[in-house]
Each structure stands twice: as C-alpha cells, then as structure tokens.
Subunit: 191 residues, 4 copies
C-alpha cells in the first residue's frame, strides 16, 4: 500500500551573495533531509546555474536545473531576506520554469541576520510559490541571527535548529507524498 | 479505486455588508458547485453565524459552523475587497477555528467594484490561509465590476463567468480529493 | 519657522480579545508617546467603539472615533498577530473611515506570543494602510513573547523596549510633521 | 514660498526580458512625466546597468545608477508581473542601494498581459519599497493586456491611459515635494 519509491527533494540555495551565511543553512538542511528514510536530495547552488541575465522566463532555462525540478517531488528553498523581499537572482532562476513545479510541495527556510528568522521574505514568497503551482507547507525553517548560529567553518552551534527541522521535514515529506499520489493517481477533475 | 464518497465543499459568503453584491456571486458559485458530480455543498452566510465581537479566537466558536468546517473537504471563500484587504468580519469568523481547516483545500473568489477582480484581497488572504492549514489552489474566481455582472435580482448577465468557474472547480475538486486521501491514508511523517 | 502646534498621535489598541496582552503594549506606547515634546495622544480601545457588525464601511461610523481620526496627524496601531493576519475587528473598525486618514503617518507595533514580534501581521497590513491613504513608516515596534515582557499588572519587565521605541517615535514624529506640512502648505499637483 | 527648483523623477524600466512590452510603457511614462512643469526625468533601463550577478547588495553598485538615485526626489518603477512577483533582475538592481532611497517617493506602474494591470506585482513590491525607505503613493499605473495597448512601434493605442496617468503624476509630484521639504527642512526627531 505504501509507496516504496524514494522522494526526491532538492535543496535550493537561493542567493549568490559573497560570504552568504545561507550556505551553512543549506548544507545543514541538506545533511538533515537525506537522513530521512526514503528521501533523496541534491544541493542546488543558484550561483552555479547557467542562466543569462539579459532575458527572463522559460527561454533561458538551464536544462539540467529544469530536469532536476521536473524529477523533484518537493523542494526546500533556503532564502535570505534582502530588504524584506527575496533575492533577485533566486527569482530570476525560479521564473525559468513553470510546468516543472506544478502540484509539488515546497518548504521555505528563511535566513536573516536579525531576530525574525526571515519571516518577512517567506511572506513575500507566498504569492509567487502559489502562482508557480507549488504548495507551500505551513511549517517553516526560521534561521535568526544566522551569523551566530554557525561557526566560520559552517558548524552548527545551536542544536535546537536540528530539532525544529524535524517537524518541518515531517510536514514536507507528508505533503510531498500526498501530492505525488495526486499527480499520479487522481484524475484532473472532469477531464 | 476511486473514492465514491461525495466531497463536501461549503461556500462561505464573506461579508456582512448591506447591499453586498458578493451575495449574488456566492449564490452563483453555490449553484455551480453542486452541479459537479460527487460534490455536496452548503452556503454559509457569515451574517447568520452567532459569534460575539467582544473577544476573538477559538473561545467564541459557533458550534454549528465549526462542525460544518470539520466535515468539509474544501472551501470556497467569496470575498469582496475592502481597502485592498479582507472584510474584518470574515477574518473574525475564520479565526474561531483552527484544527477544523488543516490539510484541506480552499479556492477564493475575489469580488470588486473595480476592474481587478478582487486580485488584491486574494493576495492579502494567502498568508492567513496558509497559517490556518489550508492549501489555496492556484486558480481563482475573479469578479470584476460586480455591479454590472448581475441584475438586481441576482441573475448573472455575463455567461463567461460560468465557463471560467469550470477550471476553478476542477482544480479545487482535484485538490480536495488529493488532500482527503492524504488526511486519511498517508501517515504523518515518521510518526 | 518650526511649527509650534502639538502633533496629535492617537494610539489604537487593535483587538477586542479577552485577556489581550496587547493592552499592556498599548498603555506602554501611550505613556511613552506623550513624553515626547509637542505630542498629544489618546488611547483608543476598539472594544469601546460603537460600530455595528451587520454592515461594513463608512455607513456605520462611530462619530467620535471618526472625529478623532480627522484630528489626528499620525497613528500608532498596536496589533496582535492572529494567524499571520490582522484581527478582524480592527479591520472592521478601520474600514469605517477613509478621508479621515489621507496623507497621515502610521507606525505599527506588532505583538505576538512567539518570537517574531508580529512581523507578519505588519506585512499583512501594509497594503491596507496604503489604500487608506496612510504612510507606514519604515520603523516598527516589535513585541515578541509578549506574555513574558510584562508582569500581570502590565508593568514592563524588559527595559530594552523603551529604548527601541525611541527610534520608532522619532521616525513617526518626523513623518507626521512632514505630512502635516504637505497637507497644509503644498498644493495638490496642478490643481 | 514655493520651491522653484525642479523635481528629478527618474523612470526605471524594471525588466531585461527580450521583447518586453514594458519598454513601451516606460517610454510613455517618461514622455508624460517630463511634460509636467518643474519635473526632470531620465529613463533608466536596468538592462544597461553594470551590476554583476555573482554577488548581491551594496558591494556591487553601479556608481552612475547610485548617483542618479541619490539625486532623485522620486521614482517611477515600471514593472511587469512575473508569476505574481517582481522581476528578479529588478530586485537585484534595487538591492544595491539603500541610503540613496530614504524618504523619497515612488509610484509603481504595473504591467501585465492579463486583465489585472499588474496589481499583484505592485502588492508584492510594497514591503520592499517600505524597507528601502521609499514611500509608495496610493495611486498606481495599471497597464492591463499591454500587448494590445500599444502597436508594434510602441505607439499608444488607448488614450485613456494618458488621462489616468494624470492623477498618478499629481500624487507622485505632491509626495515628492512634501518629502523633499521634509528631508531638507524638518529635523530628525530629537536629534
């Protein structure tokens, strides 16, 4: 009865900024998600994608990235908060796909130097996630004061984060399973 | 294989305003949704609920409304746009429940006197829907210039609205089925 | 050269909830704002306004409240976060005015039981403030874990809040002065 | 008494997309704004700025762009709606400045292929504008079905847009004047 195939849940590191602390968060999240039974992942660094900047939209896809998104059952976005919004380069990358995302789950890890765990960038992303066809789960990762949560080598200093990620992953995995069932087994209404 | 039980998808008329045109929209939406095979509905007028105003939250539930929400597989919200936000009385009502909504689908019909089909109130509701545990589908109903879309008796003057609702309901019914399967058949991750 | 008339900056307590901790915040904010030179205030408790619930909009104004808003140069909103949105009763009250708010300043104090200082309700209010004609300053009050910031009698336990309010009030007072000059001295463009 | 110096209000074309219809809108807006008495402008095409993509923030400023922003009294942003959010490249550019924007006015022209005049991208930008220190006026430009509003050469086919821009510019010019007075004449509170 249970679907034995693994879920594929890539983690997207959503900034190209030099000295980005979000890279530590993304590595932590990646290390944690692959510990879950039946979950496979891949860490996607948007800095390494091949997407031109003199155009926008599906015409400038990075073929490998789009293929990865197509295979995904869910996503984790690791997103620093820049001026209460999302990093431009992340949006530029996300906008190159569309059908690749539809009816899949996404969980967002907000990252901020200040005390509010990137709560504002998460709110700012919600309408975009919806229009991309993604279902944003109602549990977030919130990394506040990120510069003191990790040491310079990227080692986590506050173990509580791992515990909190547990609920986040449980919800994400549940939604990923449910939507995969939907994509594969439930006919589009009336069609 | 297919789940033969009907889906229960109540329609919530989200304003108490005198002379509300949204009532025409809600009746249209109700009439249309019950035409769908395997769908049952109920039209809930927030004006008729028994919810005090000198308090807020789960302590002032209307028992019958909460029970209806508990039975629901999905919701349609019919919501006029007031100052680019949602009607206060609707939020006051929605905030009385929580577990009743979790892992259920919602589709939003925005209503406006102007030309943008309530697009702004829909955006304003997205973070609230998510926190309530609802999944907002990515197809909306948009009723622009609502005062000229219906005659005084509530008869629809523009047939195109019915056609556009078809895609909205297909997506809502699909998501309702998928999430019901999830609630009933997919174990919460790791638990 | 300097305008010697006092600024009138009422504080609005934006919830009717029983046991509301926001009342402590509103009293603190009121006590602090009236210490500023050249500032007068009034604490408005939305629970005490006389606004019916079976209608919405300007038809159900509380005359005294509207008159207070008309006299105001700026507002402080004290707003708890309910399901990542604003309290319905606050919106119901705000929607009864319109011209009363135009070209005035507003500062928002978000209140939450959790760690993010009501950051999400502030974001949710921004489009509403704008459509009401208010200018939301870019400094907020953020009251996190409000239940431990005050004792049962409403006495502030964390002095840092007072210090942080200082920047908030400086910005609010600046914007209030600037917009009053505009309303009184700068002709509407081309008219 | 009246300030005789001209206002400088640059127009920012907020997308690099090939075949962008927003370019027609930006040219129209530029042509219209310079007709206003006492207004100077400049059309800034973000495609022509020299901003690297392997980093983010103030470290990668385009010196000329930052200088233009510093001189500006207000801005017009011409912004197409991509997946209900803002173009990534626009955000990447905006994030390179901060003090350059503070206490200045901004008016947003939303552009969409669909019927809602970019209303959703405007909502999505509001929290970012605020955090940048900008005051978003409460009148927007809304360009719906933009592909039929202009011919291939960029000639406007629907004269009503010009009339509607009149209110937009009146409000923007008013706010620009008011905030310039504030920046130059009103002391920061208490300092």
């Amino acid at each position: 009865m249970t679907d034995a195939r693994p879920l594929f849940i890539p983690v997207i590191l959503g900034t190209t900024r030099q000295g980005r602390m979000s890279e530590h968060v993304a590595r932590l999240v990646f290390d944690e998600v692959v510990k879950r039974e039946g979950v496979e992942s891949e860490l996607i660094d948007i800095r390494e994608l091949n997407i031109p900047t003199g155009d926008a939209g599906s015409g400038i896809k990075d073929a490998k990235f789009s293929e990865t998104c197509m295979r995904a059952d869910a996503f984790v976005l690791v997103v620093p908060e820049y001026n209460h919004g999302y990093p431009g380069m992340l949006k530029h990358v996300l906008d190159t796909n569309l059908s690749e995302y539809i009816h899949k789950a996404v969980g967002i890890c907000g990252v901020s130097a200040g005390p509010f765990g990137g709560a504002r960038v998460i709110q700012n992303l919600l309408p975009v996630m919806r229009e991309l066809g993604l279902v944003t789960i109602f549990w977030d990762g919130n990394f506040s004061s990120v510069q003191s949560a990790f040491d310079a080598s990227g080692k986590l200093l506050e173990a509580a984060y791992v515990r909190r990620l547990d609920k986040f992953f449980k919800e994400l995995i549940w939604m990923a399973r449910v939507l995969r069932h939907g994509r594969e087994q439930v006919a589009a209404g009336g069609e």
